[in-house]
Symmetry: C2
Subunit: 490 residues, 2 copies
C-alpha cells in the first residue's frame, strides 16, 4: 500500500474543505500515475485512521471521486481506481512523458553493444515440441530428496549459522563433497583451497575471463566454440583467434602455430563432447596440448560440462588431472547432472587464483544459494547423486542410440552427424542445399522449435549446424521432431 | 568411478604377466594420487568386466596389491586404497609437488587485490549467539507455499517451456508480478522493459556499476556507506568521494559541492534506513537531490533494500518514483522480505539501459533460478507476500522496540544510537572509550559473534559503530546478547 499518510498533506487552516483537500490530492496521484487504474484504495475506515480524520470526511472525499469517475466501488470487494479514467487516457502517460519516470532513455554513458541472445519471437503455445541445446531431463532429477533436505535445514539452526560464516565461495559442506566427488570421478588431486562454487558453469567462465583478460588480449577458441563463452571473451575486449576442430578435437598444430605467432593470454577448450560439435579430444592431442601448456605457460580454461555422461567409451581424464604446472582452470557444473534450474557449478584452479576469484564472486553474488548448496552436498554424501548419474546415463544412452538410429534412417539425405561418445545432444550438420535458417523457420511453422545453439550466420555459414538435445526428449517427442524435419526436407 | 578401461592399458605381447601389468598400473595410480587413500576399487567381477579380462586375473592383481599394503579388503564392504600407504606418505604428495596438479601457485597474470571479506576465525560451535547485519527471520518465511509451487511446477511441462524461452532477465510471470508489486507499493510507473531480475541486490549493484564506471571515474558515496558497494566501485577502478551523513541522510550541500568541483560519474544513495546508519533521508533533501540530479544529469543508484519494513512512520516514496529524467537506477531485493537464502533482486532503469544490463547478466549467470522465480511470482500474485510482509513487520517492529528499550536501559553508558523508523538493524555507535575492535573480540570470548558490518578500522575509526541486526533474534537471544555487551563494558 502507498504511504498515504506521507502523500496526503492536510492544511487545517486552508479555506478548502478537508474532504476536498483529500479528494484533490487523490486526483493528482491518479492522474500522475502514482495510483494506477485497478489499484484498490484503503477502505474509508482504514483511510480515516491513516490520515487521522473523521470517517465521514473520507466518505465525502470518496463520493466526490466516484461522482467524477476517478474511482469505482465494487460491491463487497472494495473501491478501486477506475479502469477508464476521466480525461486522461493511460496512453497519454507515455506520450507526453511527463508522468513516466522512465519515459526517456538514459542519456548518461554506459556500456553498449553487449552481445545478447538472438530474439525468439516464437509463441510457445502453438508449438508441440521444443528441442533444446542438450539439457538433462528434469523429470529424473532427485528433487524429492533435495526438498527433504530443504525442510530439514529450515527446521534446524544450521542454516542460520551458515549464513553467518564468511565463506562466500560455497558452503563448507558442499566444498568438501565436491572435492571428494571430483577427486574420485576425475582423478584430480585438489583441496578446498582449489575450489570455488559458482552459479552454474557460466559464472565460472565469466569469473575466470574477468580475472585474466584485458582489452586487446588474444584468446584461442575452437571454430566453432560455445558461443556464450565467445561473447564473454569479447565483452572483456579480447580478440578471438579461431582454431579448426576435427573428429579428434581442436587442431593442436593450429594451437602451436598461434602460440608461435602471437602473444596468447588464454586458451578455451572443451575436451569432452566439445560444444557444439560433440567430438572428444584424442589422447595423443591431449598429451601434445599439455606439453604446449607447460612450455608456453599458457593459461587454459578447460570447460568440462559433460564429463559425467559417457556412454560407449570410458571418459578420458581431464587435462586438469595431468601435469599442467598450475595453468589449467577446470570448469564444470552440477546443472547438467540434475536439472536446468539447479544452477550450481565450480571453478578449479591454483589456490592463489581461487582466493581472488572468490573475492570477485562475492562482489557479484555474495554467497549464492546456501539452501541448495547444502541440499546438494547431502545428496552427494548419501550416494544419491552417483545413483542418479547411473540411472540417467542409462536412459540418455538409450535416447542417444534411438535418436541417432532414427536420424540415420529418416534424415541421412539432409544431415551429416557422428554419434558422440556421450553427452546430451547431437551435432547435426545440414548439407549446403538445406540452409539452416530455412530449416529452423520451416520447422517452427510445423510446430517444432529449436532452442539449441545454431551455427549458420555470417562466418558460421560453413558449419550450417545445430545442436539437437536428445536427453530430455521422450521417445514420441523425438520421433515427431524427426518426422517434421523429414517432411520439410523431402 | 575412474575410467579404468582407459587408464589401464594391457600389452598382451609383453613378457610381464597380465595380472602384474594391472597391479603395477594400479600402484602408479595410487602413488600418483589419482587413486586416493580410502577410495573404493571396483569389485573383482566389475573390474574384470571393465578390462575385459578373466576374473582370476584381477583376483591375482588385487592379492598382489593387498600383500604390498597398497589396498585393503573390508569384509562385506569392498576393497579400498589403504589409508596408510606403503613408502609414500600422503604428505609427500604436497612436498615434492610432483603429484599435485595445483601444487604451485598460478604464475600467469590475473587481477590481484580484489577486496575480500575480513577473515572470521571464530569457531561457530562454541558460540551461543550470532548477531547479524540485519537479516530477516527465516522461520517466518513462506517456504511451505514456495515448496508447494516448486512441486506444482515440476509436475507440469511449464518449467520445460520456460527454460526454452530466451528471457534471460527473469521469467515473464515474475517480471509482471514484480512490476505490479513495485508500482503499487512504491508509486513507480514502470513496465517490464524497465526491469531486470537479478540474484539479490548485490548483483544489481555490480551490473549497474559495471555498466557505468570506467577506471578513474569519480563516485559519490556516503560516509560511511554499504561497504560491499564501496568494494564493487573500487573494483571497477573508480575513486570514491565520501559525503557526510547526518540524521536527515546524506548532506546535499556536500553533494552539490562535489558536483561543482569534480566530474562525477555516479552517486550511490540509500534513502531508506541508510546502511549502516539506519537514517532516513528527509523530504526536503530528497527534493533538493532530485533538482541536482536533473540539472547535472547525474546517474544515481538508489539502493532501497529496506523499503518494505517501516514501523512508526509511513515510508517516503523512492527518488525513482519522482521526476529524475531517467537518471535514477532503482535497486531492491526480495531477499530481505523472505529469507537470506532466497536471493532474488531487481534493477530498475530506462529501457535502453536495462536491455544492455540484461545482456551483461546473461554472460554472468544465464537465466537465474527459474523455479524460485516462478514460485515467488505465485506468492506475489496470491497475496501471500503481502500478508507475509504485514506479519513480519509487526514482529520486527516489536523486536525493534524491545531491542532499543533494552539497549537504552543496559548500554547507554557505552553506546549511542537512534531508534530507526524501520529496517532490521540498529546502528550502535560505541563511545570512544570503548574501541569497537576490543568490544568485538571480548564479545566473542563470551560467546557472542557479530557478523554485521563494523566500521572502526582506518578512516572508519571515527564511526566506531556496528550493525546490530534484531529482526532474526528471538527475545532471549537479544537479551543474552545485550547482557554480554553490558558485562564487557562495565
Amino acid at each position: 500500500m502507498l504511504p498515504f499518510k506521507t502523500l496526503i498533506v492536510i492544511d487545517e487552516s486552508s479555506t478548502t474543505a478537508v474532504y476536498r483537500q483529500v479528494s484533490d490530492q487523490l486526483v493528482v496521484m491518479i492522474s500522475d500515475g502514482v495510483l494506477q487504474p485497478g489499484t484498490f484504495l484503503p477502505s474509508t475506515r482504514e483511510m480515516a485512521s491513516l490520515l487521522d480524520k473523521h470517517r465521514n470526511t473520507i466518505v465525502a472525499a470518496y463520493e466526490e471521486l466516484i461522482t467524477q469517475d476517478w474511482i469505482e466501488p465494487l460491491p463487497r470487494i472494495g473501491i478501486r481506481v477506475s479502469l477508464n479514467l476521466p480525461l486522461i487516457k493511460p496512453r497519454s502517460f507515455q506520450e507526453d512523458g511527463k508522468n513516466r519516470t522512465y519515459s526517456s532513455p538514459a542519456k548518461f554513458n554506459f556500456k553498449q553493444n553487449i552481445p545478447g541472445p538472438t530474439a525468439n519471437h516464437f509463441p510457445l503455445k502453438r508449438l508441440s515440441i521444443v528441442v533444446n541445446d542438450g539439457f538433462p531431463d528434469a523429470d529424473l532429477a532427485p528433487f524429492d530428496s533435495m526438498f527433504k533436505e530443504y525442510r530439514k535445514l529450515l527446521q534446524g539452526t544450521k542454516l542460520k549459522k551458515l549464513m553467518s560464516l564468511k565463506d562466500f565461495g560455497g558452503t563448507p559442506a558442499l566444498k568438501d563433497s565436491t572435492v571428494n566427488f571430483l577427486n574420485n570421478s576425475r582423478g584430480l588431486n585438489i583441496s578446498t583451497d582449489n575450489l570455488l562454487i559458482t552459479r552454474g558453469a557460466q559464472m565460472a567462465i565469466y569469473l575466470a575471463a574477468a580475472m585474466i583478460l584485458k582489452p586487446g588480449d588474444n584468446v584461442l577458441v575452437s571454430d566453432p566454440s560455445y558461443y556464450i563463452a565467445d561473447e564473454v571473451f569479447k565483452q572483456m575486449g579480447a580478440n578471438l583467434i579461431r582454431i579448426h576442430v576435427d573428429q579428434d578435437g581442436i587442431d593442436i598444430n593450429g594451437v602451436e602455430n598461434a602460440l608461435k605467432s602471437f602473444k596468447i593470454s588464454l586458451l578455451y577448450v572443451i575436451p569432452h563432447h566439445h560444444h557444439p560439435t560433440t567430438v572428444t579430444m584424442s589422447q595423443s592431442r591431449r598429451t601434445r596440448l599439455l606439453e604446449l601448456i607447460r612450455s608456453y605457460q599458457l593459461p587454459v580454461i578447460e570447460d568440462d560440462y559433460d564429463y559425467d555422461f559417457h556412454y560407449n567409451n570410458s571418459p578420458v581424464l581431464p587435462l586438469a588431472s595431468s601435469d599442467h604446472d598450475s595453468n589449467v582452470l577446470y570448469i564444470g557444473s552440477f546443472t547438467k547432472l540434475l536439472a536446468p534450474s539447479c544452477r550450481i557449478g565450480y571453478l578449479i584452479g591454483p589456490a592463489n587464483f581461487i582466493a581472488q576469484a572468490t573475492n570477485l564472486k562475492r562482489l557479484i553474488d555474495l554467497r549464492g544459494d546456501t539452501l541448495m548448496e547444502e541440499a546438494l552436498s547431502a545428496i552427494i554424501n548419501s550416494g544419491e547423486l552417483d545413483r542418479h548419474i547411473k540411472k540417467s546415463k542409462k536412459i540418455y544412452s538409450e535416447r542417444c542410440d534411438h535418436t541417432a538410429l532414427s536420424i540415420q534412417k529418416e534424415l541421412s539425405h539432409a544431415v551429416n552427424f557422428t554419434k558422440p561418445h556421450g553427452g546430451m545432444a547431437l551435432w547435426l550438420k545440414f548439407k549446403p542445399e538445406y540452409p539452416l535458417g530455412d530449416i529452423i523457420s520451416k520447422a517452427h511453422s510445423s510446430g517444432l522449435l529449436f532452442t539449441g545453439a545454431a551455427y549458420h550466420e555470417g562466418a558460421d555459414q560453413k558449419h550450417n549446424g545445430i545442436r539437437f538435445g536428445f536427453a530430455s526428449l521422450k521417445e514420441t517427442e523425438m520421433h515427431n521432431a524427426i518426422k517434421i524435419l523429414r517432411e520439410i526436407t523431402m
